[in-house]
């Protein structure tokens, strides 16, 4: 190696010892140091340069040093440009990709300077910064990822300090609250918090450091319409919380969730209310059945039948979310429960779609149940020749919705029609008028049972007991 050439140009004033410079030149293995003539032909090449680029002295001395410029960096042209700049400005410094002998790339920080006597050429000092560059790239990518994440998730993202003061808010924060970046810094972001929630919000920050996390549910004002919407805010410190520790947090809109939770409470109360009312009905049926039963055996049979009917209509209501149900569904359900269907022309069920309220459905189901039971026990459904028809229509004259239910049984087929008026009669003649404002008519005759029920629409509304 022609070590004596390098120190000439590189020598700083007051360091005359060329031996010292030679030692530095050779021992600075972390640096690639080499010299070249004005045209870029390598004139010296230190151990560091060999380590960095893989070229031995014998490979490169007397050859162009431009080979370390990869094509994508401009190759020899870029090398020439670097020399031109160094001549023009006394130095040319940059960071760029350079190429090793084996073709692999390294990220190099390079300084090119003309030698004191410019006609002698240049010295170039190169440091390998590939690892740092990769780390920087990764950091950059991580920051970019954070930025993309923070600015694209629906949550409002913020950065701040341990006391809750803020140093950054995501664009979504500004869009939601209408507070621009500057208006959100320090504690100015509290302007977006509902006045009633501000104390709680700050209190939670006062306690955050001890638990190493921040949690608060509070309302933020939405700039678009002025509505205060519930948010859940969480934040964590980046490291042990000291006053200056950075915290990163998000605020999530939980307004809809909270509304649903409130709704759930209402539904739960409603469920309890229905259950209690239903128990009251069960209690009533039990006592009414006791009153009309001659024996415990009779009570058991009747009571169980009625409870089953009540259970059926509850099931039907549950399937319809306790809203209105179709009259046809109710009729079919009761007939089916009594082992008869709309078959053989023996039974006819006809009518347009008619919706019943929960209240109407419950009483009607119990009434139909009594009628059907009687028909099976004593009437049309007992003998093959009997006929039963259930029909209804909607009165288009007024706002009354008319349900007309007829039951006809073939003459002389009645074995022993119930002489005294029973539970079915009470339901039809008294319960329906009382509860639904219905007009009813029930005739128990030799030719069968004729029953008419007229339910005014305005009373067929939702029940709330």
């Amino acid at each position: 190696m022609e070590a004596n050439k390098a120190p000439q140009g590189e020598a700083k004033a007051g360091v005359p010892d060329s031996e010292l410079l030679r030692l530095i030149f050779e021992s600075a293995t972390d640096f690639g140091i080499f010299t070249m003539d004005p045209n870029g032909i390598t004139t010296s090449w230190n151990t560091g340069a060999t380590r960095l680029f893989g070229f031995e002295d014998s490979d490169i001395i007397g050859q162009s040093a431009d080979v370390i410029f990869p094509p994508e960096e401009g190759g020899a042209e870029a090398a020439a440009e670097e020399r031109r700049l160094a001549l023009a400005h006394g130095r040319a410094e940059d960071e760029r990709w350079q190429m090793r002998k084996d073709g692999t790339r390294l990220w190099a920080s390079g300084l090119l300077m003309p030698l004191a006597n410019a006609s002698s050429g240049f010295v170039k000092i190169v440091r390998d910064r590939t690892r740092q560059h990769a780390a920087e790239q990764q950091l950059h990518e991580t920051e970019e990822l954070f930025r993309v994440l923070a600015t694209n998730i629906p949550q409002l993202v913020f950065r701040g300090k341990t006391d809750g003061s803020r140093t950054w808010g995501s664009p979504q924060w500004s869009v939601f609250t209408g507070l621009v970046f500057e208006d959100s810094l320090d504690f100015r972001w509290l302007d977006a918090v509902h006045p009633d929630d501000r104390d709680r919000t700050r209190q939670a920050w006062a306690e955050a450091a001890a638990s190493r996390q921040y949690y608060c549910e509070h309302r933020f004002r939405r700039a678009a319409d002025g509505e205060y919407r519930w948010h859940q805010t969480r934040a964590v410190p980046l490291g042990e919380p000291t006053p200056e520790t950075e915290w990163v947090g998000t605020s999530t809109d939980i307004h809809t969730l909270r509304s649903l939770q409130d709704r759930q409470k209402v539904i739960l109360a409603e469920l309890q209310h229905r259950t209690r009312n239903l128990l009251a009905v069960v209690q009533s049926i039990a006592r009414q059945t006791v009153r009309s039963s001659a024996s415990l055996g009779e009570f058991k049979e009747e009571y169980e039948r009625r409870l089953r009917a009540l259970g059926r209509v509850q099931g039907l209501l549950a399937r319809n979310d306790h809203h209105s149900i179709e009259l046809r569904e109710l009729v079919d359900m009761e007939l089916h429960a009594h082992g008869v269907g709309d078959t053989n022309g023996k039974i006819s069920v006809q009518g347009p779609p008619v919706l019943l309220s929960a209240s109407a459905a419950q009483v009607l189901a119990l009434a139909f149940h009594e009628l059907a039971t009687n028909a099976v026990k004593y009437g049309a459904l007992r003998r093959p020749v009997g006929k039963l028809s259930v029909t209804w229509q909607t009165d288009d004259a007024g706002d009354d919705q008319i349900a007309c239910i007829e039951k006809r049984e073939a003459a002389n087929e009645i074995r022993e029609g119930p002489k005294r008026k029973g539970y079915g009669s009470e339901l039809i003649e008294r319960a329906l008028p009382y509860q639904l404002g219905a007009r009813t008519r029930l005739e128990l005759g030799r030719h069968g049972v004729h029953c008419e029920i007229v339910i005014p629409t305005k009373r067929n509304g939702r029940s709330n007991g």
Binding site: A269, T275, R276, L279, A280, V282, E426, S463, N464, G465
Partner: protein, 120 residues
Amino acid sequence: MDNAAMLGGRRLLVVEDDYLVAMDLADELTDHGAEVVGPAGSVKEALALVAATPAIDAAVLDINLRDEKVYPVAEVLRTRGIPFVFTTGYDAWLVPEAYAGVRRLAKPVDIRALVQSIAG
């Protein structure tokens, strides 16, 4: 004291919109010697009964009638000095301040507790 004597001759207004529950309540109260006024299934019917009946001793009021609350009836009863109890299906039902002190019985109503609160 037998059942019939407990409410002997008392005239009781029953307001309850569910027929089965109303009749049950009326029957039980009658068994305990009461004379039942009603039952009424709506505020309108209840107010008409109250206006038409000169001497009502007490009332049993279901808070939630079909589309309305029973409070207008309670108000009239209060101005007439007639004591009343509420029945309700809600355990934690919030009643207006004015009726916070009124006895509330959860459904299904314990008829003994009801009779005692009226008889007492």
